[in-house]
Structures are given as structure tokens and as C-alpha cells.
């Protein structure tokens, strides 16, 4: 469904991703783990077209999307839940959601909003509130709800658990497991190894812009050395 082949990404002169290869099949739930600065966000941005690869290709459904604009990539069904709960603070909850429906002409806004509020009732209660006043966990829910509106095929989640309280992380964990049952392919960037291992089936470990290790959850658990070496933790 999605393939990343020999991708090199730069910010100006600085070379950040050094030849990344990935494969996601439909329905996969896959993580990319790595320390701060490993290149997780850059990888997400490259797939989304925000910082296009200078070399290599990103393919989706057999089509080369490496140099498509982000808005065209969105229209293919690829959705980014950005790091840092990046929603629009001065818009209301509902306006943030409606924004993601502007480009989806075929979706029925009312029923899509209703689905989002069913999934996250707290957003329904706060639909008319400005996002400024929301807690970190609520903003994360909003960002995820926004990513699920309409025809989502791949959900790219960039460190959703970052900076959240343990209780909220547990909720987030359940939310992701629920999305997993809905035929949506998930690509999750995390530093929270426990979270990644408990929701994803296959994992990539990223270090200094290169893939160090790939394996299933069992293979990862059997290979504690690599986790201590690259992530500084054992799970």
C-alpha cells in the first residue's frame, strides 16, 4: 500500500534521513521508534510532502507521490496527526474539524462530525469552545478526530503520547486499539516503547536517520540489546 524506498531528506544543507526503506500493507499497524532527533518527524513530513525527499521515492497504491503537494497527498487519504497536538488554537473545536472536511467534498459533514463526537464525547461537549482552552489530552483527541474524518486510509501519528499524563496515555492507547479494528492503516512514531509495543505489530527502529532494526513485537522483545542500545530502555 505504501512504500518508502531509499529516501534521503534534507533541511537545507543538513542531511537528516539517510536512505530509509519501509513497507506498509493495508491494515498494518506499524511503529517507528527512536530517540529525540532520530528523524521520526522528518520521516512523517517526508511522507506527507511537507519536506519532500531529495532522493528516493515514496509510493502509494503503486503511484509515485514523492513530489506531490501535501494537499494532494491528503486527498489520497493520507492523514498526519502532527507532533505537539498541532491544532488551530484560535478556532473552535468544531471549526478545526470542519477544516479537514473542506477538501473532502464527498463526505457528509454532519454525519462525519457526529461520528467524531461519538468517539470523543468530550469534543462534542466543547464543540463551540476555542481550542486555546483545551487540555493537552483533549487537543490530542481533537488532532486524532480530525485525522479520522472522511476517507482516511493511512493515519500517521507523530508521538501522540508526548507530554501526556499516564491516565490519558492509557485512554490514547485504547483509542488507537479501537482505530486498529476499523481497517485503517496506522503508522505511529513513538519514544514511548511500551505504548508502541502494545499497540503495533511491527516496528522500525530509527537512529540518526537510518533504520537500525525491523521486526515484529516478539522479535523486538526477544532482542532487548538492540532496544537498550538504540532507545536506552528495555521493555
Amino acid at each position: 500500500m505504501m512504500s518508502v524506498e531509499d529516501v534521503h531528506t534534507y533541511y537545507g544543507p543538513s542531511h537528516v534521513l539517510h536512505g530509509i526503506d519501509l513497507l506498509l500493507e493495508k491494515g498494518d499497524v506499524i511503529s517507528v521508534m527512536g530517540r529525540n532527533g532520530a528523524g521520526k518527524t522528518t520521516l512523517m513530513r517526508t511522507i506527507m510532502g511537507l519536506t519532500p525527499a531529495r532522493q528516493g521515492t515514496v509510493g502509494f497504491d503503486g503511484r509515485d507521490i514523492t513530489r506531490l503537494k501535501p494537499h494532494d497527498i491528503f486527498r489520497l487519504g493520507i492523514r498526519l496527526v502532527p507532533q505537539g497536538r498541532n491544532v488551530f488554537p484560535k478556532l473552535t473545536v468544531e471549526e478545526n474539524l470542519r477544516l479537514a472536511l473542506v477538501a473532502q467534498k464527498s463526505a457528509d459533514p454532519r454525519s462525519e462530525l457526529e461520528k467524531a463526537y461519538d468517539r470523543f464525547p468530550i469534543l462534542g461537549q466543547r464543540r463551540q469552545q476555542k481550542v486555546k482552552g483545551l487540555s493537552g489530552g483533549e487537543r490530542q483527541m481533537l488532532a486524532i478526530a480530525r485525522g479520522l474524518l472522511g476517507k482516511t486510509r493511512i493515519l500517521l501519528m507523530d508521538e501522540p503520547s508526548e507530554g501526556l499524563a499516564p491516565l490519558i496515555i492509557r485512554e490514547l492507547h485504547d483509542t488507537i486499539l479501537e482505530i486498529k479494528t476499523e481497517d485503517i492503516t496506522i503508522f505511529l512514531a513513538e519514544q514511548n516503547v511500551k505504548m508502541a509495543l502494545s499497540v503495533c505489530d511491527r516496528h522500525y527502529i530509527l537512529e540518526k536517520g537510518e533504520i537500525r532494526f525491523t521486526g515484529t513485537t516478539e522479535e523486538m522483545s526477544a532482542n532487548k540489546d538492540i532496544m537498550i542500545q538504540t532507545l536506552g530502555v528495555s521493555a
Binding site: K69, H71, F88, P89, L99, A100, A103
Partner: protein, 281 residues
């Protein structure tokens, strides 16, 4: 009377500075040529009202013509420069304003033209115990009407959501399916049309002359600065304050009228360095 004049002046400034402010908030372009679009609105309005014999038709068509000019400016000159330092845009639009001013002198000459007030709006109306020129009252109500339309567009429609989101974070907007380049073009065209509406509407009151673009752009910049860069609400408040300052200055500081503008600006910036409605991010 002075207060009413100030209000009229302020509402006209809302139209001009409002476009300037949205363009700045979204495109990050400080559009020095915005005054030229206002000026073109005045000149086109003048020519069209003579050619068609109808002020109303001119008021409708002049903004359409200027919107087309706005499209060309955005599409062919600004677009290649997005992502560059703001100074590049400022120099570009400054250059465009010089070209526009000389083009106007070339086509229309150095003369001052007065546009005839439409028959139905000549004379004076009396209300609340004051006598006020009918045409000024028309401008006041007309600009309030346009401003309300703009407000509805921005607060109530999905285009408005897109524009407000764009003043916060262009990249996230683009990543949610919006072709932000198209939105930029649309916003610039709309801002151009608003400036031209103002220019064509005030022509019967203020005449049309080659310096008018420079005169208004300075006032509009002051409005945007005291209102807080990129804030729409701030721009409206700033325009209304400046309108009063200009009129009060003309009455009480005869000969130093322009000084009033800078006194007000300095006074406000002294207490609110980033403008009345400062952006938090």
C-alpha cells in the same frame, strides 16, 4: 459632526486596512502596493462613471477591474517569492506602487479629477439634530455594510475558517487538503477588490489624484500597526481610532493634522508595544 466624519473616515480605513491586514496575516506579505489598488479603484471609477454615465455601474465594475490587476500581481510577481525574507516582498510591492503611480500619471495625467456625486445622494440630510452631507452618510453606511459582509464571510463560512486557520499556520492547513497557493490568490484578489471599492466610493468626496495611493497606504499601515499585526479585530478598532484622530487633528491641530496620526500611534505603542490586539503566538 467631527465625530461622524471620523467614523466615516474610519470605516473607509477598515476596508483598506482590513485587506492589508488579512494579506499580511496569511501571505506574510506587507503589501506596499495596497494603496495603489485603492488609487486604481478611484481612477477606474472616475473613467467608468464617465464612460457608462452611471456612478453605480462604475462602483461595481472598478473593483472587478482592480481585482484582475490584483490577480496578476499575486500570480506573476508575489508567487515566485513566497518563502523569501519579507524584505523581498516589501521591495517588490514598493516597486509596483511606483510603477502604478507613474502609469496613472501617464494615462490620466497630473490633474485632480472630481467625480460627480450621484444625483440621488446630493444634498444634506438631517438626523439627531445635525445636518450631514447625504453622500458622506452613504459612504458610512455602505462601508459598514461591506464590513459586515466581510465579517460574515470570515466568521460564518468555511472559506472564513480556511482564512483564519491560514493566519495561524499555513503548513498545517496545507497538510489538511487545502491548496494554500489558491487561497493566497483568492485572499489577494479579495483584498484588492476591497481597496478598490473604498477608492471608488470615496472619489466623489475626496477627488482622485496621483498621490492618493501613498496617502492612504500610510494611514493603513498605521492602522495595522496600532491594531496589532495580522489581527482583524485589532484592525477594525485601529481604523476607527485613527479615523477619529485624523478628523480631530484636522479640526483642532490645523496645519499639523498629520501630526495627530503619529501622536496617536506613538501613544498607543508606548503602552501596547505590539498593538491593541496583540497576537499571542
Amino acid at each position: 459632526m467631527t465625530v461622524l466624519n471620523g467614523l466615516t473616515m474610519g470605516m473607509v480605513l477598515v476596508l483598506v486596512a482590513g485587506g492589508l491586514s488579512i494579506i499580511f496575516g496569511m501571505l506574510d506579505v506587507l503589501n506596499f502596493a495596497h494603496g495603489s489598488l485603492y488609487m486604481l479603484g478611484g481612477y477606474l471609477g472616475y473613467t467608468l462613471s464617465i464612460a457608462t454615465g452611471s456612478f453605480w455601474l462604475a462602483l461595481l465594475l472598478a473593483p472587478v477591474g482592480v481585482a484582475m490587476v490584483g490577480f496578476f500581481i499575486e500570480f506573476f510577481t508575489l508567487r515566485p517569492l513566497y518563502g523569501r525574507p519579507p524584505l523581498h516582498h516589501l521591495l517588490l510591492t514598493f516597486g509596483i506602487s511606483l510603477i502604478a503611480q507613474n502609469a496613472v500619471k501617464f494615462i490620466w495625467g497630473n490633474d485632480i479629477y472630481s467625480v460627480e456625486t450621484p444625483e440621488s445622494l446630493t444634498g444634506i440630510v438631517e438626523f439627531l439634530g445635525i445636518a450631514y452631507p447625504t453622500y458622506r452618510l452613504f459612504i458610512l453606511l455602505f462601508s459598514i455594510g461591506i464590513a459586515i459582509l466581510m465579517w460574515l464571510l470570515i466568521t460564518k463560512t468555511r472559506y472564513g475558517i480556511v482564512v483564519r486557520a491560514g493566519t495561524e499556520d499555513i503548513e498545517t492547513l496545507e497538510a489538511h487538503g487545502i491548496d494554500t497557493r489558491k487561497v493566497f490568490t483568492g485572499v489577494f484578489i479579495l483584498g484588492s477588490a476591497l481597496a478598490a471599492i473604498a477608492g471608488a466610493a470615496v472619489a466623489p468626496m475626496r477627488t482622485v489624484y496621483p498621490q492618493m495611493g501613498i496617502d492612504i497606504i500610510i494611514d493603513a499601515f498605521v492602522v495595522v500597526i496600532i491594531g496589532g499585526l495580522g489581527s482583524i479585530r485589532g484592525t477594525v478598532i485601529g481604523a476607527l481610532i485613527l479615523g477619529q484622530a485624523i478628523q480631530m487633528g484636522a479640526v483642532f491641530l490645523t496645519g499639523f493634522a498629520d501630526a495627530a496620526i503619529y501622536i496617536v500611534m506613538a501613544g498607543i505603542l508606548l503602552f501596547k508595544p505590539s498593538g491593541l490586539v496583540a497576537e499571542s503566538n
